[in-house]
């Protein structure tokens, strides 16, 4: 690679050809402010529309200022990142942005975590010299995501995630000029679109234009209601990220503190979604082995590969975009919903409560879970299996509001029986984890031999699409993994074309899996954070005494006491679901006026 020399703020730096001014400056620890720019390097997601113009710098010999995120260095280039001309321009551009933004910072959901707000602070904005009309749009309330486009600054990150990364295609820039904004087709609400509620738009939104629907008040009310028994479950990825909300290093595991906090919040039972993850493996694993058995016995009609089904964003995605393939995914419900179904039956019977007097709350790294628990098939007599789903961020807010000093909490253990879990359950939180957990159990059940090594390193990593072959007693089991719906689409298109050779595929809607979920603490474009969370998840796994789902004693007891066999009748009723054709349909209108 050709090396070039660049002078930035009078300091010389040598960089490779093709390096942008922004990157070169960072090498000198000169942090040019950016707003629309986003680079999730490990996931190959780079967004640099060059639209916000905050990162402009002065380049010697150039007529106008250059956007540093989108301008390559050339040899001998001289750059000034904080000349008076640059500072004035940057401040003016920022003031312009603020002049078209509601001044609601004190009450805004994003206050304190807003990139626009921190930029205003960084640039020392004390006055907005340019005032005028502000753009206003109709707010959009969906079951999971709130859109308040008055707060949109047109960074277009959400559009990038929705279209290019997730290939969901719900959002687009609309109109132009001052009216321009990002919206679904015909400015309909998200719940009238093909939105999967994956929440990746929320995860990257620099302001509060896109936020999750806040359910903390409902949960507080339930906790205050003496007639209700409130049960909480915590998803695997939450413990690897929650600490960030309290100033801890990314990748800090806070399982014990989280349990303690939930108990201080006065949840009656603090359980773990990891328990339900183990349960999912029992059902999904049985399904994989069942279909595989038929296939090996020569059944030509058996549907392969089996696709995982624990991610609600992914379920919506195939219901909308691949409804013809909806008999391929496993029918196993997600861990959240399995948990809810078991909590309101088996556990309800144990504590002798009517399901109506129980409230099941889930803490999820996810926005789509909010939508998933509202799906009609996950309710009995109008009473949902899971009542409220809170994001990791909402839990942090709840803890702060309850005056709990999180960092000083002791480590506590989950309650039994639904708090007992294995290492297999916890790795559900990262891409590759579900299929590794399934492989651990399926291998032992299929081969009837204990595993030499529990870790399947070939299934781990951050690459968008991965594949691996596992030797099942001479049978090469071909496994595929995709995270990010755009990657899932590629695998599905292969399946649709009959070109897929996989036996089982794990799919997670969010890049990185649940650790990168739409409900997690904001990563502000730093993909190192996701990698740290992933490491934490595997650390938690390796520290567990039991690491295979089918060895979880509480799970064994649940089947003995209540469910019978995996895929049995009771299991089918409580732990499995069905999928719907939600593809776009063109209906011919019978029109009598046609002939007139």
């Amino acid at each position: 690679m050709e090396k070039i020399k660049v002078k930035i703020d009078n300091r010389l730096v040598e960089v490779e050809k093709g390096t942008t001014i922004l990157e070169a400056a960072r090498k000198l620890d000169v942090n040019i402010p950016t707003l629309c720019y986003m680079n999730l390097g490990d996931m190959d997601i780079e967004h640099r529309p060059g639209g916000c113009r905050i990162c402009v710098v002065e380049v010697e010999g150039r007529r106008n200022l250059a956007p540093s995120c989108a301008t390559d260095c050339h040899d001998g280039m001289e750059v000034k990142t904080h000349s008076i001309r640059v500072l004035n321009a940057r401040r003016t551009v920022m003031e312009l942005m603020l002049s078209d933004h509601p001044f609601e910072c004190l009450t805004c959901a994003k206050s304190g975590k807003c990139d626009l707000q921190s930029m205003a602070i960084k640039l020392g904005i004390r006055d907005i010299h340019y005032q005028g009309e502000k753009s206003t749009y109709k707010p959009d309330f969906s079951p999971a995501i709130l859109r308040d486009m008055d707060k949109c600054i047109m960074c277009r990150r959400c559009e990038k995630m929705c279209n290019e990364v997730q290939t969901v295609g719900v959002l687009s820039g609309i109109y132009r000029g001052f009216e321009a904004v990002v919206a679904p087709a015909f400015e309909r609400d998200l719940d009238h679109s093909e939105c999967t509620y994956c929440g990746q738009c929320v995860a990257v939104c620099p302001t509060a234009a896109l936020t999750e629907v806040d359910h903390t008040n409902q949960v507080l009310r339930a906790l205050a209601d003496p007639a209700k028994t409130v049960v909480v479950q915590t998803a695997p990825a939450v413990r690897a990220a929650l600490g960030e909300e309290f100033g801890m290093e990314p990748g800090t595991l806070v399982t014990g503190k989280m349990v303690a906090a939930l108990r201080q919040l006065e949840f009656d039972y603090v359980f773990d979604t990891d328990f339900a993850a183990d349960l999912t493996i029992m059902e999904e694993g049985a399904e994989i082995l069942g279909r595989l058995g038929k296939f090996l016995a020569g059944d030509k009609d058996v549907k392969l590969p089996v696709l995982t089904s624990c991610c609600p964003g992914w379920v919506s995605f195939f219901e909308y975009h691949f409804p013809d393939q909806r008999d391929i995914p496993s029918t196993a419900r997600s861990p959240q919903q399995m948990f809810g179904a078991v909590a309101k039956t088996w556990f309800a019977e144990k504590i002798k409560k009517d399901r109506k007097d129980m409230v099941v709350v889930s803490i999820m790294p996810c926005v789509a879970k909010k939508y998933e628990c509202t799906r009609e098939e996950f309710a009995t007599g109008g009473n949902p299996d899971v009542d409220y789903s809170l994001s990791t961020r909402e839990l942090a807010n709840l803890i702060k509001r309850a005056n709990i000093d999180f960092n000083k909490l002791p480590d506590e253990d989950f309650d039994g029986p639904m708090g007992e879990s294995t290492g297999a359950g916890v790795i559900f939180g990262t891409t590759g984890g579900v299929i590794e957990a399934a492989t651990r159990s399926a291998y032992e059940i299929y081969t009837k031999k204990p595993l030499d090594k529990v870790d399947f390193k070939q299934l781990r990593g951050m690459e968008g699409i991965r594949e691996a072959t596992v030797d099942f007693n001479g049978f090469p089991l071909k496994i595929g993994i995709a995270h990010g719906l755009g990657n899932a689409r590629k695998l599905l298109e292969n399946i649709r074309a009959g070109k897929s050779e996989f036996h089982a595929i794990e799919i997670m809607a969010c890049p990185g899996g649940c650790i990168g979920g739409g409900g997690q603490p904001l990563h502000h474009g730093n993909s190192e954070i996701l990698k740290a969370r992933q490491k934490a998840i595997y650390r938690e796994d390796s520290g567990k005494p039991i690491r295979k789902s089918h060895e979880n004693p509480s799970i064994i007891k649940l089947y003995e006491e209540y469910l019978g066999e995996p895929l049995g009748e009771k299991a089918h009723q409580l732990l499995h679901t069905r999928y719907f054709d939600r593809g776009r349909e063109i209906v011919i209108e019978a029109d009598v006026k046609e002939e007139q």
Partner: protein, 162 residues
């Protein structure tokens, strides 16, 4: 959680499909397809955009994003006699704004909308390249040059029985 349904007449659907296939259903031809569709239907209602999106295999949001970007495309039906007032610079300095105001006053509709009876609609137009005749008004395909505000009534009179 039912599927999103799009209602359309059989005939219209067929025509639209033909338009799309005449451009090989290529996504890159979206703007050409929209031009064709608007020339058939007079405007681009949501249903038409839904079908085009499906046929060209692009998202509806994208189609809507394109339709709202270009001023030539409209989602509101135009009047039977669409009135376009040139608001180009030459027409502006020769008084087009007053002519436009007069049309709005007499027809009682804002720019971009049609009269309730669907007879007239008013749009502003960027330079039709007839600056020598400024200010210029187009009614349908007919061009009126050097229009003064007090000539507006007379122009409308021509369409009294049409």
């Amino acid at each position: 959680m039912s599927a999103i349904k799009i209602k359309l007449r059989e005939n219209d659907l067929q025509q639209l499909k033909e338009v799309c296939s005449s451009f090989n259903n290529e996504a890159g031809e979206l703007i050409n397809v929209l031009h064709k569709a608007q020339s058939i239907f007079g405007y681009l209602p949501a249903e038409v955009q839904e079908v085009i999106a499906k046929e060209l295999n692009v998202s509806v949001a994208k189609v809507y994003g394109v339709v709202t970007f270009y001023s030539f495309f409209t989602m509101v039906p135009r009047g039977r006699h669409p009135i376009s007032i040139c608001t180009g610079t030459a027409c502006y300095v020769r008084g087009a704004e007053k002519v436009l105001d007069e049309f709005k006053r007499i027809l009682k509709v804002p720019v971009g909308e049609a009269t309730p009876d669907g007879k007239f609609s008013i749009t502003g137009l960027r330079c039709v390249g007839a600056c020598g005749l400024a200010p210029v008004v187009l009614v349908g395909d007919k061009t009126y040059g050097r229009v003064a505000p007090d000539g507006v009534k007379e122009i409308l009179k021509e369409y009294e029985d049409k």
